[in-house]
């Protein structure tokens, strides 16, 4: 999931003659405007230029070829789970069990979003990468910071949202060195007047929302063997579902259920090893033959290597109450280099469906068998019902690190649609008869050999930054990366508590002169509808709203709004630091719609290979690696919550 390497210079390739007069006054010109230009030519664009003069707006070029297909929505699409909570609340990390990140609030529209301004802000007091999103339940907002994983409860009913409580748990400092990709936290889950979240040092905690008192804490992961906790839990039927990070540290991945009332472990299912540990029984009915067999989680590895085989559970969980299945992806196999582990290496880089009550595995789909590129499959699988070839299908939509966007039957694990959504060359496609990618042999990595120009890079076509789904347009809104890598395998050494990787993989910008794109995707056909190209990988999540406004943030610190139907940039604001968090929206006690997002550069892309600050020590201003050497010009560390409204 991370790069351990040096990179190389990268430069936004000039595309057009710059138009700085359109996008900047008083020095507010977009820093990359000499390379990137707002594509004008429509009246709306002229309006944006006017807005730009006031607000410092600039946008990267739209993908005009694709945008000509604007308004190519999908009729009849719907979120695949019932809504939860009041419409104005945001009670789960992704708003709902489906992972839609869609809100029915529509006070903020394509017509008035250009009047959106900052309502209030809140410093989290923590540097490093602020992934995830706040929760809003009732009149309270709940925030969880990166390490040391402080939780704040803010009272939205009072001016300035003062704190109701602050919860700072014990959290072992040594765990910081076991976190491959910055000491992030992707947020909390809520149920029964309790917020649940994970601590980096392997604890899950339950906090009473009324008092801020700790209800329980359970040590569930073991940092001494490379396990940390960064993911956001999901609560299903009184089970708090959690899993570890550590795919780069030689862990043996698992998912566990903790009793929401007591914190006691109810079940733990491994992603690797013999069937008994993986909880494979008679109800395991994967669609493809290659997923079936006895003890594949052990036999698809050379003897015993599965015990340090990665397949961590650090990404997003979704849930279908009707099928009673919880969905998640597993991380890359360890080590990255594959020559020590010939075989499929199940169930690494796979999408798994489990019974949340028992942990039983119901189906599996290994999207990258024998992954030798660090293509974790942990990205979210969004639960939607879509018309495919004229028939409504219950599907998951999953934008994998490997560069393919999958539309999958969520009852069976059958791949219905699989198309590349970013520039890629390691595989030529996915065979729908087997579910397996058609791998290009010349992109297979090896020890002692440098395989050049593999696309996407190990950061994937998309990483943890989650997509959103609007049932209004029927489209998925996807933050993506456009990066490639040169991969040199080397023999790794397993030393408990240190990385187990075995590769150098410097990254460069992908083809086309941009390194990220925010796009709209039609998952029924597997095609891009529109895209907004960005100079940097788009590492924030997406938010979709019934007002047909979609939101995302950028590593260089712009928070942006676009028209969900056409991709027209509508508004942007330069926040205090790069955005790697996920925007959310809620209705405040005053009845107004607000949009909130964390600023706070960090995470795998922001802190480890792009940031300019190496630690959270105030005196430490050392620089970092080189994949995005130009990023430090635009941002530095610091976590702040921004809350916006339309006056």
């Amino acid at each position: 999931m991370r790069s351990s390497t040096r990179g190389r210079d990268w430069r936004c390739a000039p595309r057009h003659h710059p138009q700085p007069d359109a996008v900047g006054r008083r020095g507010a010109r977009a820093p990359w405007s000499r390379d990137y230009v707002v594509t004008r030519g429509a009246r709306t664009w002229a309006a944006i230029a006017v807005l730009a003069a006031a607000a410092g707006v600039a946008g990267c070029s739209r993908d005009r070829a694709a945008s000509s297909a604007a308004s190519g929505g999908v009729h009849g699409a719907r979120i695949g789970t019932p809504s939860t909570g009041a419409p104005g609340e945001w009670p789960m990390p992704a708003k709902d069990y489906a992972g839609s990140r869609y809100s029915t609030l529509d006070d903020i529209t394509t017509d008035n979003v250009n009047r959106m301004t900052v309502a209030w802000t809140f410093s989290t007091g923590v540097l490093r990468g602020h992934e995830g999103a706040p929760l809003v339940i009732g009149s309270t907002m709940y925030i969880v910071t990166p390490y040391p994983n402080v939780a704040y409860a803010l009272d939205l009913s009072l001016p300035g949202a003062p704190l109701r409580w602050k919860f700072r748990p014990e959290n072992a400092q040594a765990a910081k060195a076991e976190a491959c990709c910055d000491v992030v936290n992707r947020g909390a889950a809520y149920a029964d007047s309790t917020v649940f979240y994970n601590l980096l040092d392997g604890h899950t905690v339950a906090v009473d929302v009324r008092t801020g008192a700790e209800r329980w804490r359970t040590q569930i992961a073991d940092p001494s063997h490379g396990e940390t906790m960064t993911m956001a839990p999901l609560v299903v039927h009184g089970n708090v579902l959690v899993g570890p990070s550590g795919g780069e540290m030689g862990v043996r991945g698992w998912i566990a259920a903790l009793d929401a009332r007591t914190g006691q472990e109810r079940w733990r299912a491994y992603n690797l090893g013999p069937d008994r540990d993986v909880k494979i029984g008679p109800k395991f009915t994967p669609f493809y033959a290659s997923e079936r067999g006895t003890d594949l989680g052990a036999t698809s590895w050379p003897s015993g290597t599965w015990q340090h085989g990665g397949a961590a559970t650090w990404g997003w969980l979704t849930y279908d109450p009707a099928l009673n299945l919880v969905y998640y992806g597993t991380s890359n196999p360890g080590p990255w280099d594959g020559e020590l582990r010939p075989g499929d290496n199940k169930y690494s880089s796979s999408i798994l469906a489990r019974d949340p009550d028992t942990g039983e595995l119901r189906w599996a789909l290994q999207v990258t068998p024998h992954d030798v590129w660090d293509y974790d499959a942990v990205n979210e699988s969004i639960v939607a019902d879509l018309p495919i070839h004229g028939t409504m299908r219950k599907v998951l939509v999953h934008f994998d690190r490997n560069g393919f966007a999958y539309t999958i039957d969520r009852a069976t694990g059958e791949v219905l649609v699989a198309q590349s959504y970013v520039p890629m060359n390691w595989a030529s496609g996915v065979d729908l008869a087997t579910g397996r990618p058609r791998v290009n042999a010349d992109k297979v990595t090896r020890i002692g050999k440098t395989v050049t120009n593999i696309c996407p890079s190990l950061e994937g076509g998309k990483n943890q930054q989650p997509a959103a789904f609007s049932p209004v347009t029927g489209l998925f809104y996807v933050p993506t990366n456009n990066l490639c890598m040169d991969f040199t395998g080397r023999t790794p050494t397993y030393i408990a508590g240190t990385p187990y990787i075995g590769a150098d993989a410097p990254e460069t910008g992908g083809p086309g002169g941009y390194r990220g794109e925010f796009m709209a995707w039609d998952a029924t056909t597997g095609r891009k509808v529109w895209g907004i190209r960005e100079p940097f990988p788009v590492w924030s999540g997406a938010l979709a709203t019934a007002g047909n406004v979609v939101f995302y943030g950028t590593l260089d610190g712009w928070f942006k709004a676009a028209d969900a139907r056409t991709g027209e940039p509508l508004w942007q604001f330069k926040v205090s630091s790069g955005v790697v968090g996920n925007p959310m929206t809620y209705r405040g006690p005053d009845g107004k719609q607000y949009v909130a997002v964390y600023a706070g550069i960090g995470g795998d892309m922001g802190a480890l290979i792009a940031g300019d600050v190496a630690s959270d020590a105030a005196f430490d201003v050392r620089e970092r690696g080189t994949t995005l050497p130009d990023l430090a010009q635009h941002t530095s560390f610091g976590g702040t919550l921004f809350v916006f409204d339309v006056k």
Binding site: S4, R6, E178, V621
Partner: protein
Amino acid sequence: MGGRVERVTGRVQARACVRAVGRGNAWEGLCLAAWVSASIALVGCDRDGRAAERRVGATVVSAPGSPGTSPGASPGASPAGGNAVGDMDRGVDRGAQDVDRRVAPVVGDGRGQQGAAQASSKGSTPNLIAHPDHIQAGLTAQRSLAVLVNPRERDPRALEEGKQLFVSYNCADCHGGEGSGGMGPSLQDGRWHFGGSAGEIYESISEGRPDGMPSWGGRISDSQIWALVTYVRTLSAGKDVTTQSFEGGGTVARGGH
């Protein structure tokens, strides 16, 4: 050798503290606090026998008659007397001159908290203990290891060996290829949390550091640690990243990469 160093340093620091005490009673309290701190450190450092032995021997400086120590004894006779053999193994070269140079600024600037020692009231036993490491909040440790000489500094094989070990012991996976930075800090930029001298880097590798640098002492040989020190110190040679200029656009040229 260790015993002699302690005696010399002890005298210097005793003078510092006596001068400080002479300026007012407040310093006396501070010196007392330092004494308590040093006492705690004696216990606290005892993570394992080896570490405790080295830390006591290397950093706790005491004058004759100090409680809990016998600095006048021969090195092998007391836990506080250091382990001359072990230190020699690690390439320790603690000349009294070096130690005095390290301590001198403490005396010169009169900041008692940097060289504090405890002196009893006049006429009673002059109990004098200094423990500069533990009373320099926010500063890098001023351990006498800072003056260690790398025995493999000029060993032509050490550089290549260190380069290989940097990969095979997974240093590269945390600190980045060629130390360019990753989970762990960059080693190319010439900025150091815990000091960039050979001895300080040796200690960082051997003892580990609080934010998660593992302790390699006892797991790999001293010779290998010194080879790593040799290699690591080359990564930042000649680099200066004090100023980053973002003028001129395009990719920013930055030292260290």
